[in-house]
């Protein structure tokens, strides 16, 4: 039974996904609008049946008339509810950024066709935007906050667009299946050593081996390394660009380094770094970010800070693939996937 249910459900999903290809824009039409009676609509149908029986039993023509009139209203409402949605175009303008666990704003534009659309609601999981009205031919920019579950890419599988107008007896709905993803930054946590390090403003000291700290790590140069760190003497000798990573340098105020929190979990390190980035940006300091596999040169300013945060957010994460029919990074994923599966 469970198997069958699952099979039907996955069939249904596949069928929907075929009708609604992944895209950041979706025009709604007969092709992709679904319409069924709401609970109230079902009750209304039962009520009409009861009224018909009353009419038959009491041989009352006026009750017949009323039943037929209300039945016709129901059928007409089907048309109206459908038309309320059809002709609309929902487009993602920009998938926003936010902190993990908080809402990430998705900026959307809803444009009407030649009909005015009334009381449209957009929803993702348990977050929703109600009562959007758009005049014929006009467009409206909307912000739909989508709660994120953890850092990384955030892409709800589907944004549901729904309307029950005019009578609430029927609901017509469709989905926008985004291909772009928003980003959730790691949640900042106060980094342990941060207070002990003082930025003395000296650039040159960075490259100087400190006394008693000669256990330098030598590694090949890679893009983003500061030129002061290159062992130029060695370059002159062997032609190899080698960079010295001084152990004592970890926690350097100039460099926010992934490796400076030994023993901490990777996610925890990212959280520390996120806090440090925010802290530096707030102080207006110049800093660089060193992540395994990615290094961002020191710079200052809000844009730089965002760049760093974005790097922290997606470090080690794969962007959601086009064909994945699963939500990505939303709260629902916590229910769907076992926690260990994530990177």
């Amino acid at each position: 039974m469970g198997m069958l249910k699952q099979k039907i459900s996955s069939r249904w999903q596949r069928w929907i996904n075929r009708r609604i290809p992944r895209s950041d824009t979706q025009a709604f039409s007969q092709r992709n609008i679904f319409i069924v009676p709401t609970g109230a609509g079902v009750v209304f149908g039962v009520l009409l049946l009861i009224m018909l029986i009353t009419g038959i039993n009491y041989q009352n023509s006026l009750i017949y008339l009323m039943t037929f009139a209300l039945g016709a209203v129901f059928v007409g409402a089907m048309h109206q509810t459908h038309r309320n949605l059809s002709g609309l175009t929902l487009a993602l303008i920009r998938a926003g950024e936010g902190t993990a666990g908080d809402d990430v704003p998705f900026y959307l534009r809803l444009s009407a066709g030649k009909d005015t659309s009334v009381a449209i609601s957009l929803s993702v999981e348990d977050s929703r935007l109600d009562g959007v009205h758009i005049r014929a031919g006009a467009a409206s920019d909307l912000v739909l906050p989508i709660p994120s579950a953890h850092r990384g890419y955030l892409r709800p599988d589907r944004i549901r667009i729904e309307t029950r107008f005019p009578f609430g007896l029927l609901k017509a709905w469709s989905w926008l299946r985004l291909s772009s993803a928003g980003i959730a930054y790691p949640r900042p946590l106060v980094a342990p050593e941060a207070g002990s390090l003082v930025d003395d403003g000296s650039e040159s000291r960075a490259a100087q081996p400190r006394v008693g700290q000669d256990n330098a790590d030598l590694r090949p140069w890679r893009e983003g390394d500061l030129s002061q760190r290159v062992m130029w003497k060695r370059f002159a000798r062997s032609g190899q660009m080698v960079v010295a990573d001084w152990q004592g340098e970890q926690g350097s105020p100039h460099w926010l380094d992934f490796n400076s929190f030994p023993g901490a979990d990777a996610e925890l390190r990212l959280s520390y770094l996120a806090w440090l980035v925010a802290d530096r940006v707030q102080k207006g300091a110049k800093f660089g970010l060193n992540l395994p596999g990615e290094v961002i040169d020191p710079d200052s300013g809000a844009a730089h800070g965002e760049r760093c945060l974005r790097a922290l957010a997606v470090w080690g994460e794969q962007p959601p693939r086009e064909h994945d029919a699963l939500p990505f990074g939303t709260r629902q994923t916590l229910d769907v996937q076992p926690a260990g599966k994530r990177v």
């Binding site: 596949r14 996904n17 290809p21 950041d24 824009t25 979706q26 039409s29 007969q30 009750v43 009520l47 009861i50 009224m51 009353t54 009419g55 038959i56 039993n57 009491y58 041989q59 009352n60 023509s61 006026l62 009750i63 017949y64 008339l65 009323m66 037929f68 009139a69 209300l70 016709a72 209203v73 059928v75 007409g76 048309h79 109206q80 459908h82 038309r83 059809s86 002709g87 066709g113 030649k114 009909d115 009334v118 009381a119 348990d126 977050s127 929703r128 935007l129 109600d130 009562g131 009205h133 912000v143 739909l144 029950r164 107008f165 005019p166 009578f167 609430g168 064909h323 994945d324 029919a325």
Partner: protein, 696 residues
């Protein structure tokens, strides 16, 4: 920012104030509709229930303003228990449709106190819709029907406001939308109404009403009918197939009172007990024959049908009982239409009154009214029955007898007082006195109660007989002639019989003196009369063609259409109408949609191309360039690879050529040809090379 203000998390709804969940506008329309729906019932509902409904709805409305709170659980339960207790006390175990309907109203009233969420709103909406249907059981006049439909409209507008509370101008738009919707669906509604097979009741439900109805009753005390004629309510309406009889011949016989019990005339034999059930309202169909007439009677809750002398039944729902009277097989609890025909040949040539009957029609109480008995004995000694009857009529005509709605009280020996002292009375007095005298003189006689007269409705198409036409007269048995109608009123106040009560009471000014609201009272205002008659005509047609459109009338209408349409065909037609309506709705929305996508030939070709891709298992992604799509198509179906690429190039060149140089028609032609080629290639070598990539 308003955008963010509108944003709400669904689980935060519970935190919102309970009365805020329903927009005030929606609630107001719901309450308004409730008020409208109570109107048709106001005279049948107990006053306390109406008061309670007003208070409860007002409470809900004031709570909406935030000035008071809705009751908590305990208070609510308390109110509910009190109301139900009051209800039980007033109903006292009677179970009728009336009491059921008032319980229904009570339930609606109580529901106001717990209408907090949209869900409650819908519950109330459904209950009110059904309340509207219940109203139709009691009131079927066109004005009440319009009012009820208006209330339904209010409900539907309220629901629209509930669904789009912050939409500016939603009220006007709501009515407009609803009106257009109704208008567009009107043909379907009419077709369904005409063709939906009118089935027999699935089970029999009596519509017993506890409401007192005005109308004649089966007992008659001297003052009874003069009370009844204070009402201008309609008793029945008659359409004649041929000429309408003269006013003085319009004696509508209802029932016969043959037993004098002290002062009260009653029926000797009670009406036989009847099983509960509904009266058949099918009153014959087709055009009326010359001698036929068609009666549309208001509900009386009695089995009596009113008929002219010498009638025979022409419809199934009415049958001839004894004494030349007509009866329904069930009490008339809703308007009934029936049809009778005037028999051409009059009474049988040599009628005989059986001894038992003679005894019955000579019954008198033991004592009382000695002077009348003496007079009767004197007359009987010297005159034949015919002479005696004529002499009594002459006495009425020539002596100073008055016909009045304000007779003096005659508590002791009423007949003596009327005949010899007061000489003032109404039809019931004179009929009673005459019958007493005839019986005392040994002439079998009986009182007939019914109506006499009837005024022409608007356009003169039919007669309206009202309660003030109620009348009582006498029938005497004359050997060789059978029962003969004798009307003392005709001798005393000929104008009553010739032209009606209004003229007979013109001098006294007592016509409808207590019924200030009746248009009939103001006979001098021609405009009022005219309006009232026009309204009655509309109602009459409404009753005949809409309310009375039932099994037989439907079958009659169908039999006039070509082709034998029976119940089964009606079923098919109904199904067809519903199907057609859905189809039209589908086509209309399809067309509206197509209008959006109906571009030039180029657009159509692109549409066809995309469809072809999808059919071939290559999903079209928006924002994809034609070239990329063609490549994916080529991957999936190498057969068409080259054509697809050519196609994409052509599309590109169409896109990038300047608007002026665009040769839409030529481009589209070329693309269409390419498309056709691809289709052919696919058909011919159509095996897909690999399974189309699945979307998941």
């Amino acid at each position: 920012m308003s955008l963010l203000a509108r944003f709400s998390r669904s689980n935060s709804d519970a935190a919102e104030g309970p009365t805020q969940a329903i927009p005030s506008g929606a609630l107001l329309w719901l309450i308004g509709s409730f008020a409208l729906l109570l109107l048709p019932q106001w005279d049948r509902l107990p006053w306390w229930l109406i008061a309670a409904c007003v208070v409860l709805a007002a409470w809900r409305w004031i709570a909406q303003q935030g000035r008071v709170r809705l009751p908590g659980r305990w208070l609510k339960t308390g109110i509910m228990l009190v109301m139900i207790a009051v209800y039980v006390a007033t109903v006292q175990g009677r179970f009728t449709v009336d009491t059921a309907a008032s319980f229904f109203v009570l339930a609606v009233g109580l529901k106001w106190l717990e209408t907090r969420s949209a869900r409650d709103f819908y519950v109330l909406f459904f209950i009110l819709v059904y309340l509207a249907a219940v109203n139709f059981l009691f009131q079927q006049d066109i004005l009440w029907a319009l009012l009820t439909f208006g209330a339904i409209g209010c409900l539907l507008v309220g629901v629209q406001i509930l669904n789009a509370p912050d939409l500016p101008g939603s009220l006007k738009a709501g009515w407009k939308r609803l009106g257009l919707l109704m208008l567009k669906t009107l043909p379907v509604v009419v077709l369904l109404f005409v063709f939906f097979p009118r089935m027999a009741p699935l089970w029999s439900v009596p519509l017993v009403s506890g409401q007192a109805r005005s109308g004649i009753s089966d007992t008659m005390r001297p003052g009874d009918i003069s009370n009844l004629v204070q009402s201008s309510e309609r008793a029945f309406r008659v359409t004649f197939g041929g000429a309408t009889p003269e006013y003085r011949d319009r004696y509508w016989r209802g029932l016969i009172l043959d037993y004098l019990d002290g002062e009260t005339w009653r029926q000797r034999d009670d009406e036989p007990f009847q099983r509960l059930g509904r009266v058949a309202t099918d009153g014959g169909v087709g055009p009326l024959a010359d001698n036929e007439y068609d009666v549309l009677m208001e509900p009386t809750d009695k089995r009596w049908a009113f008929a002219l002398d010498n009638s025979v039944a022409a419809s199934d729902n009415v049958f001839r009982a004894g004494e030349d009277l007509f009866r329904f097989s069930r009490p008339a609890d809703s308007p009934v239409r029936y049809r009778l025909a005037l028999a051409m040949d009059s009474a049988p040539s040599s009628p005989v009154l059986a001894p038992a009957q003679r005894y019955r029609y000579l019954q008198l109480p033991q004592g009382g009214n000695p002077r009348t008995r003496e007079l009767a004995a004197d007359m009987a000694a010297s005159q034949s029955p015919v002479e005696l009857v004529n002499n009594l009529m002459r006495r009425f005509r020539e002596q100073e007898y008055f016909y009045t709605l304000r007779p003096p009280a005659m508590p002791e020996d009423g007949v003596d007082a009327l005949l010899f002292d007061e000489k003032r009375g109404f039809c019931a007095h004179y009929a009673g006195a005459a019958t007493f005298l005839f019986r005392a003189a040994g002439i079998p006689s009986r009182i007939v109660v019914g109506y006499q007269g009837g005024d022409a409705g608007a356009g003169g198409e039919y007669l309206i007989v009202r309660q003030y036409d109620a009348h009582a007269w006498v029938e005497v048995w004359l050997e060789g002639r059978g029962w003969v109608r004798i009307d003392p009123t005709a001798a005393i106040a000929p104008s009553r019989i010739e032209s009606g009560l209004r003229d007979a009471m013109a001098e006294e000014g007592s016509f409808l003196e207590n019924d200030l609201t009746s248009p009939q009272r103001y006979g001098d205002f021609a405009a009022l009369q005219w309006a009232s008659l026009q309204l009655d005509r509309i109602n009459y047609q409404w009753q005949r063609w809409v309310v009375g459109y039932q099994g037989q009338s439907q079958m009659d209408l169908m039999s006039r259409l070509p082709g034998g349409i029976g119940m089964r065909e009606l079923g098919y037609i109904t199904a067809g109408v519903v199907g057609l309506a859905l189809l039209i709705a589908g086509v209309v929305s399809g067309l509206a949609l197509r209008k959006g996508t109906r571009q030039d030939a180029f657009g159509r070709v692109m549409f066809a191309w995309h469809r072809l891709c999808e059919q071939a298992g290559v999903p079209v992604r928006s924002g994809e360039t034609p070239m990329v799509l063609a490549e994916r198509m080529a991957d999936a179906r190498p057969v068409v690879a080259e054509t697809a690429r050519t196609f994409a190039r052509a599309v590109n060149s169409h896109y990038y050529s300047s608007a002026s140089a665009r040769q839409n028609a030529a481009d589209s032609q070329r693309l269409k040809r390419l498309l056709k080629t691809m289709k052919r290639q696919l058909r011919r070598y159509g095996k897909p090379v690999s399974r189309a990539p699945r979307d998941d």
